[in-house]
């Protein structure tokens, strides 16, 4: 192979990569510039053009005064609703998943593989199927339209995935570690807390990103199981876009959509490098 062919190959690869990167980043660019224009400029100008003046009024409106249905308080209250749902749901489902994974991988008992199979089946149950029975159950438990109820739904639904992640991570760790700890006199929970959890950083990061993204972006559970004061941001965004007072305000819609997406972006930027590493990590050596 000569150097010209090599260069052509390189050019082709970079060309394709840049094309696809632009394809993905294009809409984001449009959203960003649109959110910074005022409504006249949007109506009159080019969709790809940069804004003439930086104008953050659409952002502040989306955050604090845009109308979502009959209320006109912006996205802020719903943003905090989402935070109140996401944080406990992610923490609880991750912790339960870690514990389940520890037991299923390291303390095999009669039928433990059957149980794991049954749990895996939970990953394939579509959301729509459980909507009505879950609504009924939440009503019986007195959790309908509450943040606690939404947290419970997300935990139950998330545990199947988190268990799968942790079980597959722990199954690669030799059982001799548990045996050694038992001989050292460590009880069941101590082995989990002191030995297994501390070596789980990569898989915890993977699980947290996964769960955070799933729960933050969830719309269906949010719209079905929430009440007037407990709607998450995805539902509010939908309402905001669908409420038009005197014509479509594209700049506000765009700003609101970016605000709704920011937390997942933030989590991914902070922990993203662990994500790929954690998914591909093999057994812990040593």
């Amino acid at each position: 192979m000569n150097s010209l062919q090599l260069k052509m190959g390189r050019a082709l690869i970079y060309g394709l990569l840049i094309t696809f990167a632009l394809l993905y980043l294009g809409p984001l660019y449009v959203m960003l510039v649109t959110s910074l224009k005022d409504i006249e400029e949007i109506r009159g100008g080019n969709i790809l053009a940069l804004p003439e003046h930086l104008n953050f009024s659409a952002w502040s409106k989306a955050w604090s005064s845009a109308c979502t249905g009959t209320d006109c308080e912006g996205l802020a209250p719903y943003f905090w609703n989402s935070v109140r749902i996401v944080i406990p749901a992610v923490l609880i489902s991750t912790l339960i998943g870690a514990f389940n994974g520890y037991v299923l991988a390291q303390w095999q008992f009669k039928g433990s593989n059957m149980l794991f199979g049954a749990l895996l089946f939970g990953c394939f149950i579509p959301f729509q199927v459980i909507l009505l029975p879950m609504a009924k159950l939440l009503a019986i438990l007195g959790l309908a339209n509450t943040v606690t109820g939404l947290v419970a739904v997300h935990v139950v639904y998330g545990v199947t995935f988190t268990t799968l992640f942790f079980r597959n991570y722990y199954v690669a760790i030799p059982n001799e570690l548990v045996r050694a700890a038992r001989l050292d006199g460590a009880p069941f929970f101590t082995i989990f807390w002191r030995i297994f959890l501390p070596m789980s950083t990569p898989i915890i990061v993977v699980t947290v990103i996964w769960q955070f993204t799933q729960i933050w972006n969830d719309f269906l559970f949010g719209v079905v199981y929430s009440g007037p004061g407990t709607q998450p941001i995805t539902v509010a965004l939908n309402n905001l876009v669908n409420t038009s007072v005197g014509g479509k305000q594209y700049n506000v819609d765009m700003a609101a959509a970016i605000i709704a997406a920011l937390p997942t972006l933030f989590v991914y930027f902070v922990a993203g490098k662990y994500f790929v590493r954690g998914l591909t990590a093999g057994a812990v050596k040593g």
Partner: protein, 365 residues
């Protein structure tokens, strides 16, 4: 202190019986080796002693106390694992002290013990490192340190050297033996390496198919094997097994197209058995070049056709046949070189330590 008594111990998984009635009495301070091919049940037996596997039936006593139903932590034993099983997120010092912490020892005593153990094993400079920063041999030392720190009644070693390279394995083997001399604590040690078994053990239990085939000192196991399996498994190069016809209390051997009659020490037992053919077991070092002035009762001179030689340095293994069956002889390097040129050489056979086995059952005669 650390005597172990195993009484009619059995272990089954569902319908497969892995251990079929083990009886062993291990003295306090003894170095016992469990040896056998993979799948013979030696690791299962060790896990039963540790309490990591439940015993199906039978009893286990440590220092005359029935520990059959005690949990592992209450048996006062420590174990070194094949994969070392160090806690990956803890420093070497924490790895060593973890068992003491769990047993709520006072802090000052823990620190003193860690220091003492680290000095003994020459790992003081590694105390702050994580297991992933250590070499295989260093991990092995830490794993041993973790066991030593607890000062238990019994040490269990589960193939501790099998992950090390050949040179390091020999070094650590010597160190374990020194350590045992120094501490005098009972050790039960599992291996599939018969050289390790011979060199380390006070007594060896050779296992096969969940049964102890023979339990004795290395000398007894090597020179007085209970059956053909034990004779074959122990010793390197392996013992020769030649099926021979019995003629007037002697064994008939055809070598280099000539017939020889070999006298054997236990002729009465052979006569009593009434067998017409028998398997002669003779170690390669008993088949050598002719040597002057040896006790002649059981020594025969004969010729051997040599097909291949394998020089090992101190001596040369020569491969030939008796009665059409493969035979290994152990020659001096000089004789070995001559065998390569001449192919037919004069040898001397000493049957004083030869053993006889039943041709079908493999039982000792």
């Amino acid at each position: 202190m650390g005597a172990i008594t195993i009484q009619n111990l059995t272990k089954s998984y569902a319908s497969t019986e892995v251990l079929k009635g083990i009886d062993l009495a291990i003295n306090d301070g003894e170095f016992l080796i469990l040896v056998g091919p993979s799948g013979c049940g030696k690791s299962t037996l060790m896990n039963c002693i540790a309490g990591l596997e439940e015993i199906t039936s039978g009893h286990l006593l440590i220092a005359n106390e029935d520990v059959t139903d005690l949990s592992p932590k209450d048996r006062d034993i420590a174990m070194v694992f094949q994969s070392y099983a160090l806690y990956p997120t803890m420093s070497v010092a924490r790895n060593i002290s973890f068992g003491l912490e769990m047993r709520k020892y006072p802090k000052a005593q823990i620190e003193a013990t860690v220091q003492e153990v680290a000095t003994l094993l020459q790992i003081e400079h590694l105390l702050d490192r994580k297991p992933s920063q250590l070499s295989g041999g260093q991990r092995q030392r830490v794993a041993m340190g973790r066991a030593l720190a607890r000062d238990p009644r019994v040490f269990l070693f589960d193939e501790p050297l099998s992950n090390l390279d050949a040179k390091l394995r020999v070094e650590m083997r010597t160190e374990i033996k020194k350590l045992h001399k120094r501490l005098g604590t009972t050790i039960v040690y599992v291996t599939h390496d018969q050289v390790e078994a011979m060199t380390l053990a006070d007594r060896i239990a050779v296992m096969k198919d969940g049964i102890v085939q023979q339990f004795g000192t290395p000398h007894e196991i090597y020179n007085d094997p209970a059956n053909r399996f034990v004779a074959d498994f122990m010793g390197s190069p392996a013992m020769n097994f030649i099926e021979c016809v019995v003629f007037e209390g002697n064994l008939v051997v055809e070598s280099a197209a000539k017939r020889y009659e070999l006298a054997i020490p236990n002729a009465e037992a052979l006569k009593a058995s009434g067998l017409e053919t028998v398997v002669l077991g003779i170690r390669p070092e008993m088949i050598t070049e002719p040597k002057p002035s040896t006790d002649a009762t059981y020594v025969s001179q004969m010729f051997l056709d040599v097909s291949v030689t394998e020089p090992t340095g101190p001596d040369t293994l020569a491969f030939g046949t008796w009665n059409g069956q493969d035979l290994q002889a152990r020659l001096s390097p000089e004789k070995g070189r001559q065998a390569e040129i001449d192919s037919t050489i004069a040898i001397q056979v000493d049957t004083a330590k030869a053993v006889l086995f039943h041709p079908q059952t493999g039982a000792r005669i």
